[in-house]
């Protein structure tokens, strides 16, 4: 297993009801696998998974990327700063 930290921002934080959580995930899990796992385990977030942006260690990550050990992950909607 791989223990990771998952941060939520903006709409994702509201729907998750928390800013962050620690999560045990299978080793070699991909970003797509993480989205599937979140959809299954957190019904509130399921709808968000189709448009969510995901980062691994503060860089944008894509569906096929494998999540490294003890990563800092984040989930959020497209950005709206400035």
């Amino acid at each position: 297993m791989n223990r990771v930290k998952l941060l939520f921002f903006a709409t994702l934080r509201d729907r998750a009801g928390t800013k962050s959580m620690e999560l045990d995930i299978p080793s070699e899990l991909t970003v797509q696998g993480l989205k599937d796992k979140i959809s299954d385990e957190y019904p509130n977030l399921k709808e968000s998974m189709s448009s969510v942006l995901i980062t691994i260690n503060r860089e944008y990550a894509f569906d096929e990327a494998v999540i490294p050990l003890n990563a800092e992950l984040a989930m959020f909607p497209p950005v709206s700063g400035g």
């Binding site: 921002f9 903006a10 980062t55 503060r58 984040a74 959020f76 700063g81 400035g82």
Partner: protein, 152 residues
């Protein structure tokens, strides 16, 4: 040569004169500044009033992406010297300044406006900051539409 570069997320009021002083060299001849404001009323499209905007950021990643935007600007416009990219977060009320990006060229003015424009456009694409609009009728998160590509 290393030119002065400032990127920060702050809850404090932004002091443009201080930023300008910090990125000015003796070789610097001009600056372009973009400053975003909070509008109290929106008349375009769905007209409405805004009580305040609440900004939040993924701070360490946002500062890293601001640095990346500064590097992209330098790669495109070699005349640019100092660059400052600052985003204010927290609750911001109308008439308050929320964002600034001065970029200063060596000798010629050529490129400085384009560089500042590029900076604000990229900030709105890849820097993880969000705003929630709070009005007398409720509140909602403003979401962008840009999906970053690999390597961004």
């Amino acid at each position: 040569m290393n030119f002065p570069t400032i990127f920060s997320i702050t809850e404090d009021e932004i002091d443009l004169n201080d930023l300008l002083a910090r990125i000015t060299l003796t070789s610097t001849g001009a600056a372009a500044i973009f400053a975003g404001m909070v509008r109290g009323e929106t008349t375009r499209g769905d007209a409405h009033e805004t009580e305040y905007l609440e900004y939040e950021a993924y701070i360490p990643m946002a500062e890293a992406k601001m640095k990346q935007v500064a590097e992209e600007i330098r790669a495109k416009w070699s005349v640019i010297e100092g660059i400052a990219i600052v985003q204010r977060i927290g609750k911001l009320y109308p008439k308050r300044r929320r964002f600034s990006l001065p970029a200063r060229p060596r000798i010629a003015i050529r490129g400085v406006f384009e560089a500042a424009r590029y900076g604000i456009d990229r900030l709105k694409e890849i820097v993880p900051i969000w705003k929630k609009e709070v009005s007398p009728n409720g509140e909602f998160w403003v979401e962008g539409d840009y999906i970053p590509k690999a390597g961004e």
